[in-house]
Every structure is written in structure tokens, then in C-alpha cells.
Amino acid sequence: MDSSTAAILNEVFFDTIGYWYVILPTIFLGLIVGGIPGFSAANTIIILMPLTLAMDLQTGLIFMISLYCSSRMGAGIPAILVNIPGTAGAAATPLDGYPMAKQGKGQQALAISFVASCIGGLLTTLIALATMPLLARVGFYMHSVEMIVVMLFGISLIASIAAQDMVKGLIAGFLGLMIGSIGTDVVYATPRGTFGFLELYDGVPLIPALVGLFAVSEALIIIEKRIIINHEAEIKKASWHDTFEGVSIALKRWWHIMWTSVIGLVIGVIPGAGASIASFVAYQQSRSFSKTPELYGTGHPEGLIAPESANNGVTSGTLVPLLVLGIPGGATAAIMLVVMQFHGVSFGPSLFEDQPKVGYGMFMAMAVCYAVMIFTILPLSRYMSHVTTIPTIYLAPMIISFTLVGGFVPREYMFDMYLALGFGVLGYIARRTGYHVAAILIGVILGPLLEKYFLWSLKKSDGDIMVLFSSTLGNILWVAFAASIILPIVFGMRRKRKSEVVIQ
């Protein structure tokens, strides 16, 4: 970094700090919209577009960035407390977050999630800032063939979940993949399994599926209990102790936060890839290389840290192709592009030469936002966790109404509300009969993406299946994928053998 860049960074840092009066209220707005299923930074910015366009460029950018970061974090709050992931990016969060809440550790789980999100987001922002030209090249190497392997990393989670009950796990996973294949095919747009519903032509909409499978089914389950947390878990009086304990648990796993957030960053810079892929891949990798994989899914802090660090790592990642190449990495980045073009900012390689303060300013706004967020949100964990002690006769109807509205919001079709209810019933039956809803959901979310990359690859190669092994990077990823499947089995067998020796 040369002295002029350092001087610009210094200047934009103090400039950004001066906008605290924009950052603070936007953080709270972002936490609210992120927490409501169906809402996201993208549709909030669209709704507030006239306001955003009326702001000067710097205020508008700081507003959008703060909203983007805080809504990403906000989506994790209901995912942990009431099993409602607000967005597909938070779909892996309840896998371990919600079991913690049920054990009466909701406050701890929130603190872990906040620390992982903020540190993950802050760290990846700094890495992105330092290695931007390098990171921008990732998209040049990660094409459809390579993305197939990345998808398989995430989908292989089904096998991990199936390990508890192989037949039921695989049935649930395949059911998810089948549901994910509903809609028109990627190449010729031929409708499949739509049952004549036009609303299914673009595939099963994610938010209704997400809230139905997780939240509606959970509401039906918890109504059978008095409160969310298990009867055997002691209902403690809220104190700061749990928050500090959560912070401590997260900080002790700083290395875990670091490498899982980098997974998010790398996936985030690939145009078209997003937080849902990143969080599932990070969770799968975290589990694969854990010494205690059997604890995942039972309320393990590392199972919560991985998706939360990764999905916040994605936020900074999506800015890289936007600023360096002019290609928005995701929906929110695409809307930022529109707003910035309105102010006459041109993207591409020359941005950092012509308007360096804009380019560096966006990353600096993100870094400052994450730093401010940790201090503003941590104290809230104590009060937010009270949700788990609300009697279910009030909570369950609230969850169902909120989630149905959430299912409606993205496309505003009544059909989507019915769909959420349908998925809720499916999820309830699955839970009651011992099938894992997460396995179904992984299929629904990642199945269509895997199919898309697979069909693109085949179309590009005129149907030659060997295209899957045609690139060097792809082959390296195949080896890594095989290793991540085989090594945990080998390590597990070795651990088992050692423990048997100790017992003998």
C-alpha cells in the first residue's frame, strides 16, 4: 500500500466516523428488516430508493452499506431464537443456534452469533480491502465446472445429517432435491412439476419454503409445549453473565471465525454465488474438520459460528466484483450499482484511479459499521433472548402470522402464503416422523443451483460429461471435496479405535 492510498484510507475513515448519525439508526433499521422473513437489505433499499437517491453520494452509500451489513446480522436473530431464518443466507444458522436457544442458552447463542458476524465481517472487509485486485480474479477462474464442486460441498451436508439415520436422511435430501427441480429448466425453460401453477415456473420460491419448513412447522411443534426452551432446561433470570460467556466462547474460537469467514469472502466474490451457498459450505467444512462432529446439530457453538461468519464474509465479497469489474455479486450490490450510477459513478478498473474515495469509502463504511455494530447490538442480546420464554400460546400464532406475511412479501402472491403453509405441514410431518427438515431444505436451496451449473457445463461441452474434470482448479477442488468426505471418516475411525484402546 503506497502512502497516497494510506492517506485516502485515513481520510475516508474519519469521514465515515463523522456519519455516525446515519450509521446508528440504519443499524437498527437493518436489524429489524433482516429479522422479518421476506424482507432484506435489497427490497428495503428499493422501497427507500427515493430517499436514497435524494441523499448525497457518501450518505447514500453509508446508508446502503450499513443496512446491508446489519440486515445480514439481523436475519440470524429469529433463526436462533424461534427457528425462523429471515433469509436463505441464514438457513444454516438454526441448525445449531436454535438447539442452543431450546437449551436455555439463547442469550449466549446471540452473543456468539453477533461476535462471529462482526469479527467475520470486519476481518473479511479488511482482507478484501488489502487484496482486492487479487480477489477480483477469483471470478475468472470459478466457472460453472468449479461451482459444481462448491455446490457438492454444501449438498454433502445431507450425508452428514443422514449419518444419524441414513435411510431417513437420504430420503429427506432426495425429497428436497426433487422439490428443488420444480420449475422451468435452465436451458430451454421447459416447465417441470409445476402442476399447472404459473407461480412455480421460476421454481419453488425460497422464502415460503424456508419459513414453512423451519418456522411454521416449529410453531406447530412448540404449541405442544408451554415455552420454547425445554422443560428440563432451567429458566434463568437474564444477566450479563450469559452475554459475556457467549463472547468468551466465540473469542476462544477466533481461528474458526477467521477461516469460515474467508470461505464466505471467496464465495461472495463469485458473481451469482451467495450467502446461502457460503453458509452451508462453511458449516459443512467446519463439521468435516471438527474434532467433535457428532455435536453438530445439537447446539454446538462452532456450528453457529461457521454460517454466521461466512454469511457476513459474503457481504464484503460481493462488493469486490462490483467495484473492480462493475459486476454486482448479488441483489443488494446490483441495487447499489443503480444508485451509484445515478450519482455518476462509473465502475470498473478505473474507479480506484478516478474516484478512489468512493471505492475505498465503501469498504471503510463496511468496516466502521461492523465495528460500531458489535457495541450496539451485544447489549441487546440480554433482552432479545426473552422471546424464548414467551408462552407458546402467544408465540406460535405470532410466528405463523409473521412468517406467512414474510412468505407473501417477496412476490406479493397469495399463492406463496399457501405454499408456506404447505411446507409447514410437510415440515411438521417430517419432524414428527424423524426426518430432518434441514436435509430437505438443503436440497431445495442448493439443488437448483447445482442443476444450473451442471446444465451450463454440459451445454458448453455439447453433453460431454468429462467436462466435469476438464479444468485444473476444478480437479483440485474435486480432490479437496473427496478429502473432506473421506478424511473425517478416517479420523473418526482412528478416534474410535483410540478410545477403544483406552477403555481396554
Partner: protein, 333 residues
């Protein structure tokens, strides 16, 4: 002497019935004077916040003053616009108070690939807002930097070409070019403008074809080599020539053309209302505030272009014919 009543019961009933029949039978004549007495509902078959939304808001902000009524958009995205059209044709009353704001290029091509649930002649476009020609472009770092490079490379291998979706005017432009040059291009549908630009920039495909507005927005990350229409923006599309000039072809312009459409029945039943709509629509183009609003909505000023019922009908028909001609290549059928 008894007075003969001026109005008997029979004449009263008869006159009332005649008046009611007149009102119902000649609605256009009687009711047009008050049209519009409420807001106009507009069905937009794409998502809120997208290009069509911005374009619609810019145009309607001026048109509403000419018409004397506001426009209320409803967004019905999905299935490449098919959902919005089906809802408009199936549920909206054909009374001139319900319009559709669609795209005469890709959306009409849909009907050629797969017939909709309504007769495509039961609606028509009456006013084009803008037209955005499709173009062929490469990534800034692509080894293919000229059309000659592309032709030479196509002789050694089958080139992969990104497109927003198969049934798109840009795809037809490319297939026509392929026919002319004897090249078999391999179209890869990259699902939307962002993906299509990214595909060309990152090397997922050899090059891409897309509407030029999205290509201009991508800035210096891309380089345009050919326009499937007239290049009216010059260096913003790298002074790329039109396909007809470069290869002596006679291809109609391959466009994304946003336009207002209406039920045929509405125009037939309420000719005066329809006349008010078309007259005020045309007047809107004479107002300098339209250009200001269009530029503010990030529209390319050169693309703001009026076309009336006949021109829109001709364009719709040409899309249907070209779609039918290339159906096997675009739909795999």
C-alpha cells in the same frame, strides 16, 4: 275535462329502458366524456425496482398530467413475464382502466416458444416508450477483440455465447448472424443481464449478446463489437457497426422495446377512451420533462422513442414470426 298526462307510465318506462339501453350499448360514446374518472391500473410483469419499474415511473410521471389521472402499478413477476400477462388477460377488466406495461421483444417471443393461456391477438401494444437494441460484446480481457477474431476462432471450435435466456431477441440476432456467416454458435442461457455480462467478463463464455442498455451500464469491463439494430449512442457502444451494415443483411432491429398494451376488447368497446389514452400518450413525448425524467431514471436518452399502434403491431408480428422460425433452436423442441 280531464287533462291528458304529458308522460304516461308507458312512455316513462319506455324512455327509461331506452336510456339504459343507450348507456349500455354505446358506452364509449356516453361515458368517454368523463374518462378517466379514476386511476389507471397498470400490470407490470416484472419485479418492483427493476428497469421496467424505473422506466414506467419516469414515463407515467409526465403522462399522468396529460391524462388527468394517476397510474397505479401492480407487479407480477415470474416465468419471463408470463405470469403478469396471464393475470392481466385473465383477471383485469377490459375497460381501458387496466393496461399492461410489457416488453415487446422477449415477452412476445415467449408466446412463440410456448402458447399462453389466452389468444395473443386479444391484446396489443399501443405505445412504445423506448427501444434498446441488442448487441454482441466481449469481456475487456477476452482474447477475442474483433469480429474477425470471433469468425477465425469459430473455424477452430464451437464458440459458447452467453445470452440472458434462449427466447430473447439477442439470441435471434446471433442465430441470424450465424446463418449468414455459416457459424454454429452454442447459446448458453445465463439467466438475466447481470449473469450475461459476468459470463463474458469472467470468461465463462467466449462472448455474450444482450440488450445494449445493460452493456453500456457495465462500462469499460466490456467491449461491444456489433449491434443488432442501429447504434445511436456511438462510442458508448464502442462505435460498433450495425449487423446489417457490417454484413449486408436485412435483419429487423432486435430490440428490447417497452410498451403499454391493452385488451383488444377494451379498445373495441371504448374507442373514445382508447383515443384519449393514445392521444395523451403521444402528447407526453412532446413534453421536455419526459426526457428529464427518463434520464433521471438512468434511461439512455437516445433510446426514448415513440411508436404507435401500427409500428408496435408490426414489431410484435415480426417477433412472433422470428420466434416460430427459430423455435427448434431456442426451445429444444
Amino acid at each position: 275535462m280531464s287533462m291528458k298526462p304529458i308522460i304516461t307510465r308507458r312512455t316513462l318506462l319506455g324512455t327509461g329502458a331506452a336510456a339504459a339501453a343507450m348507456t349500455l350499448a354505446t358506452p364509449g360514446l356516453v361515458r368517454a366524456n368523463t374518462f378517466p374518472d379514476r386511476n389507471i391500473d397498470v400490470y407490470v410483469p416484472t419485479s418492483e425496482g427493476g428497469g421496467a419499474d424505473r422506466n414506467f415511473r419516469a414515463f407515467s410521471s409526465v403522462w399522468k398530467e396529460k391524462l388527468g389521472a394517476d397510474f397505479e402499478p401492480g407487479f407480477y413477476p415470474g416465468a419471463s413475464g408470463r405470469v403478469g400477462y396471464e393475470i392481466y388477460m385473465g383477471r383485469a377488466e377490459p375497460d381501458c382502466y387496466n393496461l399492461i406495461f410489457g416488453n415487446m421483444g422477449p415477452e412476445v417471443l415467449n408466446w412463440a416458444m410456448q402458447e399462453p393461456g389466452f389468444d395473443v391477438d386479444d391484446y396489443f401494444y399501443f405505445g412504445q416508450v423506448d427501444k434498446d437494441p441488442c448487441c454482441l460484446f466481449v469481456g475487456a480481457e477476452s482474447p477475442l477483440q474483433t469480429m474477425d477474431d470471433i469468425v477465425a476462432a469459430a473455424k477452430t471450435r464451437r464458440l459458447n455465447v452467453g445470452t440472458s435466456r434462449m427466447a430473447h431477441p439477442a439470441s435471434i440476432g446471433l442465430l441470424s448472424l450465424g446463418e449468414e456467416l455459416g457459424i454454429d454458435f452454442n447459446l448458453i442461457p445465463l439467466q438475466g443481464g447481470k449473469g450475461t455480462v459476468a459470463g463474458a467478463v469472467t470468461g465463462e463464455v467466449d462472448f455474450s449478446v444482450l440488450t445494449s442498455g445493460s452493456v453500456i451500464a457495465a462500462g469499460e469491463s466490456v467491449k461491444t463489437l456489433l449491434v443488432f439494430g442501429n447504434n445511436v449512442v456511438g462510442d458508448r457502444l464502442n462505435d460498433a457497426p450495425s449487423i446489417n451494415d457490417a454484413y449486408g443483411m436485412d435483419l429487423p432491429e432486435m430490440l428490447s422495446a417497452r410498451a403499454f398494451g391493452i385488451h383488444k376488447k377494451a379498445a373495441d368497446d371504448f374507442p373514445d377512451r382508447f383515443d384519449i389514452l393514445t392521444t395523451t400518450f403521444k402528447d407526453t413525448f412532446d413534453d421536455p420533462r419526459l426526457m428529464e425524467a427518463y434520464i433521471a431514471s438512468k434511461g439512455t436518452p437516445e433510446y426514448l422513442s415513440y411508436a404507435g399502434v401500427e409500428e408496435c403491431a408490426a414489431f410484435k408480428q415480426s417477433m412472433l414470426e422470428l420466434g416460430a422460425r427459430y423455435k427448434s433452436l431456442l426451445s429444444g423442441a
